[in-house]
Symmetry: C2
Subunit: 337 residues, 2 copies
């Protein structure tokens, strides 16, 4: 077992990394109250049931799997349910699922009575290494992702790698894309774990190292004013790709995988592509550069006609700079058609 | 001019109290960017126009006057408008109106891209002395007030008493009920200003003293964990009355006025009633005690079957204690039928 302490002053919390943590969630979480367990249709039902059964008064809400659940309508429906069930300011919300569930349930917890306790039990690699910590909660609006939300820290995060056993291998790989991202910008040894292969054997170390990187970044920049932008490595172009999701059906981590390719040095690129291929992650996409560019300039991280981008010349070393959007065009051409 | 500095660490801000501040809002607020000015149909149009005209790119949104605008639907509509207008994370929202506008616009500002700068220019006594500072933003849901929202501090508040010139006298009085509340719990001299009459002449001092009390309370208890509950003096029963608003048509401050009556000592009560009558504020309501009690127990400040109530024995001195709801029943009978 490993406990990482996220040091954010009054908003500090622990991240418990332990196989089997779900089965003893009541040792880590204060469940002796009304507890809303939010999950989705793709998560094994017994996960949410295990948590709800430990609560004094557990209520399970199961939303549809997929990004469409991150809507203001769903947000409002869950808040109404909490009201109907008589939740007070002293009760709690637990997310049991991937990033969609965590983002949605987190924003619900942030907003119900202006904030109730929130716990996160991520069930995918992507949410275990990335979205479950850092306090970014959100829903989508008018087709724009994560445009409405709050910075709201959980009271505890349980990272239980046993929950990944039932996870589809494509979902495992998309999560590993984010872990690889953190190795590239911040941890050469983490990158080496990927470069050497044996990824499955090193899963605990990969996830723990990724969490430590994210923890350090979030501690230094809780509200995403500066340093936290390194977590967006691969995401600027990635979001431009992801916006066309209905055409290619790629997952978030897959879009990030592609988005990293043009942002590393020419030296590093072949090694990166080899790793991505070994994980069956895509390295290019069947979209026109113009289409990616157009969607990318709508990205919410834009600052006027400029954007802060991260590039990586060697594993563990990044450069951050502000560029005009159009300077990214040649890079987009590398991965589009 | 008076500047009160609200000391909340990274969330600190200034409250500028100055007649004529609206006309030079650009001296106090950073308006050299996209600025969404939220107002309502009851506020003189020139107030919002004055602010919008000073902005680099001002966009005015006018919602319907009244509590119904504090809805998730209206929240969502304003966020959509901001998206459509291309607001970025570096732009700002300004509320120009009373509590409804401030609560709604504040929650919009808290949530758009997880938070953009928020300024408040309150235009009613109630919002000038109370709701515009403290960072409580919210909308209503399923008939329950303020159940969805955020603690989100403004970057600056401009309190311009000249804006009250056009305010209906009934609205002036409802705001003064909240100022009187603060005198009762925390400032005997403020109470004396009411007790001696000449309220209109002392308006600047009444509002400034009220703001100083609220500032001190909020600084000590930003997230409403304890002390801030003294601001709820008169509100527990008041909310039970307000829930039946469609039957009696009373305003929030009027319900609070009634709610204070049973919560002061028998000695103090005649003085309080005399002041309320001089302000043409109600001191009782045409509702059955059972009806008030029923609505009150649904109040969101409840903690199981208990509630924290504030009583005042002498002006400027309060007692805070936790009681069972039913202990309040005899008090409700004092002001119901």
């Amino acid at each position: 077992m490993n406990i990482l302490h996220m040091d954010l002053g009054a908003d500090s919390y622990d991240i418990v990394i332990e196989r089997g943590a779900l089965q003893k969630a009541d040792e880590y979480l204060e469940l002796d109250r009304k507890v809303l367990v939010v999950t989705d249709g793709g998560v094994p039902k017994e996960y949410a049931r295990t948590v709800a059964a430990m609560a004094k008064d557990g209520v399970i809400v199961t939303v549809s799997q997929g990004e469409d659940s991150k809507s203001i309508a769903q947000f409002s429906a869950i808040l109404s349910r909490m009201l109907k069930e008589g939740f007070s300011r002293r009760d709690a919300v637990v997310a049991v699922g991937g990033g969609v569930v965590g983002d949605l349930a987190g924003f619900v917890a942030a907003s119900y009575m202006r904030g109730v306790d929130f716990y996160n039990i991520p069930t995918t690699v992507l949410s275990q290494v990335d979205s479950s910590i850092g306090g970014k909660t959100a829903v989508n609006l008018d087709g724009i992702k994560n445009i409405v939300g709050a910075f709201y820290q959980p009271k505890k995060v349980l990272v239980d790698l046993d929950l990944l056993k039932t996870l589809d291998s494509r979902l495992v790989s998309e999560g590993l894309a984010e872990a690889l991202k953190m190795g590239l910008t911040s941890d050469a040894e983490l990158f080496e774990l990927f470069d050497k292969g044996n990824i499955n054997e090193n899963m605990d170390e990969i996830i723990t190292r990724s969490l430590m990187i994210k923890k350090n970044v979030v501690e230094q920049d809780e509200k995403e004013q500066g340093l936290r932008k390194i977590l967006n490595f691969g995401h600027t172009i990635g979001h431009g790709i992801e916006a066309h999701e209905e055409r290619h059906g790629l997952y978030h981590g897959e879009c990030v995988a592609i988005g990293m390719v043009p942002m590393v040095s020419d030296d590093l690129r072949p090694r990166l592509i080899k790793i991505l291929e070994s994980l069956r992650l895509p390295t290019a996409v069947d979209l026109k550069a113009d289409e990616i560019y157009e969607a990318m300039t709508h990205d919410k991280k834009g600052e006027g006609d400029q954007v802060t981008v991260i590039t990586v010349s060697e594993p563990g070393e990044y450069e951050m700079k502000k560029v005009r959007f159009k300077e990214l065009y040649p890079k987009i051409q590398m991965i589009g058609i």
